[in-house]
């Protein structure tokens, strides 16, 4: 029993790192534009299917698909931004409905092109098992975990040290003040959407290598990412990372101790509890979202 728990703890941590990448994409665009991109999960899914295309057509390692995946998610992400930009009245709610509609379009486009079959990697290297003491993992999971960490470190550096990253943080914290400092918020928002596209492309490919994908997965991914951002509270990358690991571990534990049908339920209950009792998130920032 103890070994089972150790194993689910470990698997949960590995899958949590991918949740963190998805959640950071949503958090970034929300920070810059105060708009939740409900189609972000579908962007991730789109990238996962690009990995499938590359692997099934060429037989290369799915990670070779990252440039293609990024080109696709980047373009779609920019299109989403340009469409949101056109909304004039009731921007907050209308953009929510718009991205919801884009999510429906993407889900069904994937369904039309790739059919509703479940896909996963066939790479023998990625499916190979490695053991760490008493726990096991697929090499694909370990790779995904390491790449996710690297991308998060890159994002952290970008936000901290690059001009655009700092501009994103400036616009997130005070849009008007940022404008007065000579920052064009539109360029910053565009940058945020492009970086969200990069995060989605890596997350999608990682998801494909460690798990199974199917067209209906998109909304679930968006919800999970949103759960993570709510658990984390506004702001820090380490907070999002910890919250994502927490969600991953909670889900894995539920599958081990109860049933896989309850996996999503536990995540949502956790989400609602935090939302109602700790509205600033577990790793609290100061602002209330009320």
């Amino acid at each position: 029993m103890l070994e089972l728990l150790q194993q689910s703890l470990f698997s949960g941590l590995l899958v949590g790192s991918v949740y963190a990448l998805v959640a950071l994409g949503i958090a970034l665009t929300f920070g810059a534009m105060k708009i939740i991109n409900l189609a972000h999960g579908e962007l991730v899914l789109l990238a996962a299917y690009m990995a499938y295309v590359i692997e099934s057509r060429t037989g290369w390692n799915p990670y070779a698909a990252i440039p293609l995946a990024f080109a696709v998610t980047g373009i779609v992400s920019v299109v989403i931004y340009l469409l949101i930009e056109r909304i004039r009245e009731h921007r907050e709610l209308n953009s929510l409905i718009l991205t919801f509609a884009i999510g429906i379009i993407l889900t069904n486009a994937i369904l039309l092109v790739f059919a509703s079959d479940v896909r996963s990697t066939g790479s023998p290297f990625l499916q190979d098992a490695v053991s760490f003491g008493s726990v096991y993992a697929m090499k694909g999971e370990i790779t995904a975990f390491i790449i996710s960490l690297a991308v998060m470190a890159g994002l952290w550096w970008w936000l901290k040290h690059s001009w655009y990253g700092r501009a994103v943080r400036a616009v997130s914290s005070n849009r008007d003040a940022a404008k007065l400092m000579g920052i064009d918020p539109r360029r910053v928002e565009l940058a945020a959407f492009i970086v969200a596209g990069i995060l989605a492309s890596v997350a999608g490919v990682a998801l494909y290598t460690m798990s199974v994908v199917q067209p209906a997965l998109g909304p679930g991914l968006t919800i999970k990412a949103f759960i993570v951002t709510v658990l984390a509270g506004v702001g820090s990358i380490p907070g999002v990372f910890c919250a994502a690991l927490l969600l991953g571990v909670t889900e894995a534990m539920t599958v081990t101790l109860a049933s896989s049908a309850l996996q999503e339920l536990v995540g949502m209950v956790l989400f609602l509890l935090v939302l109602f009792f700790m509205p600033n998130g577990l790793f609290g920032a100061r602002t209330r979202r009320g």
Partner: protein, 317 residues
């Protein structure tokens, strides 16, 4: 002049059974369209008066359906009472969502989406009550009242027309009451409204309750009309998506918009979209929704209304 669209819709509603009464396919489509119309009306009420976007009305729809079906089948409750109980059940489950009202715009929308998922999972897992994913059937159909068999296509249609009209009347009454005025003020500035002594959260809670009640009622109606339930159907995301598109297409800030929108969208989906794309036909609905938000966020009736008010202003000047 102002009541012209309403009379037009009423005329269509009366003309349909006269023209197509014998055609059970058309009447079946119309019955489903009216179900969507009822939910769209409830969604628009929450959106327009309460200022809240919900992606989770499927939760109310499913809870209403299951409550009514279970009460009438297992506890022998007469169907009309069971329908009412279904609506109350949906309203009751919206009480569980009241804490979400503290959240603003996008957070509320996503919290309610999460709720919808929770209810769907619960319905699938609670096999002893709902029958789980195997489905639930053999519950009584709609009764015969005053010689009109409500379980027939024509009977269901007439009952639904009356119900939709009733809900529209309730919506109109709320909108015109002082509650409606307070809610409109709240949409402009919630803080200012609170300062003058309006309990904004309480009013929003009532709107959520009313919206859930209406949605549950139509969910229950639908269950007794088709006489079969399974969680994937009763809690299907379509029950959230179709009403949203219907309301946005028709104009969610009007009362007739969602009703007319539901009829047009549902028929478009069933007759044109499903014919073109048997799999993934919802992509066309998505395109339609995105297009409406970008080009005409006020919907068909919204555009019409704006034109007439502009015309009136010109006439006055």
């Amino acid at each position: 002049m102002r009541s012209l669209p309403a009379l037009l819709i009423l005329a269509v509603a009366i003309a349909v059974p006269i023209a197509f009464g014998g055609n059970s396919y058309v009447m079946g489509l119309m019955v489903s369209a009216l179900i969507v119309a009822g939910v769209a009306l409830a969604w628009a009420l929450l959106g327009n008066l309460g200022g809240m976007v919900s992606f989770g009305h499927a939760a109310f729809f499913g809870v209403g359906a299951y409550t009514s079906a279970i009460l009438s089948a297992k506890f022998g409750l007469p169907v009309p009472l069971a329908l009412l109980a279904g609506a109350c059940g949906a309203a009751l489950c919206s009480v569980a969502m009241l804490p979400a009202l503290r959240l603003s715009g996008p957070y509320f929308a996503l919290a309610i989406l999460a709720y919808a998922h929770i209810f769907k999972i619960l319905a699938t897992e609670a096999t002893s009550i709902t029958g789980g994913s195997a489905g639930f059937q053999r519950f009584p159909p709609l009764p015969t009242i005053m010689g009109l068999d409500l379980s027939s296509r024509i009977g269901s249609y007439c009952l639904l027309v009356v119900l939709v009209a009733l809900c529209a009347a309730i919506y109109l009454a709320v909108k015109r009451s002082h509650v409606g005025t307070a809610l409109r003020a709240m949409a402009e500035s919630e803080d200012a409204t609170r300062v003058v002594g309006v309990n904004a959260t309480l009013l929003k809670a009532w709107m959520l309750l009313l919206s859930a009640f209406i949605t549950g009622l139509f969910g229950a109606m639908n269950a007794h009309i088709i006489n079969f339930l399974e969680p994937d159907y009763a809690f299907s995301a379509s029950w959230s998506i179709l009403p949203i598109i219907a309301a946005i297409f028709g104009g969610y800030r009007t009362i007739l918009g969602p009703v007319a929108g539901a009829a047009l969208i549902y028929l478009f989906d069933q007759i044109i979209a499903k014919e073109l794309l048997p799999v993934g036909h919802e992509i066309l609905l998505g395109v339609l929704l995105a297009g409406m938000i970008l080009i005409a966020p006020n919907g068909l009736f919204g555009m019409f209304q704006r034109k007439t008010t502009k015309g009136a202003a010109h006439a006055a000047a």
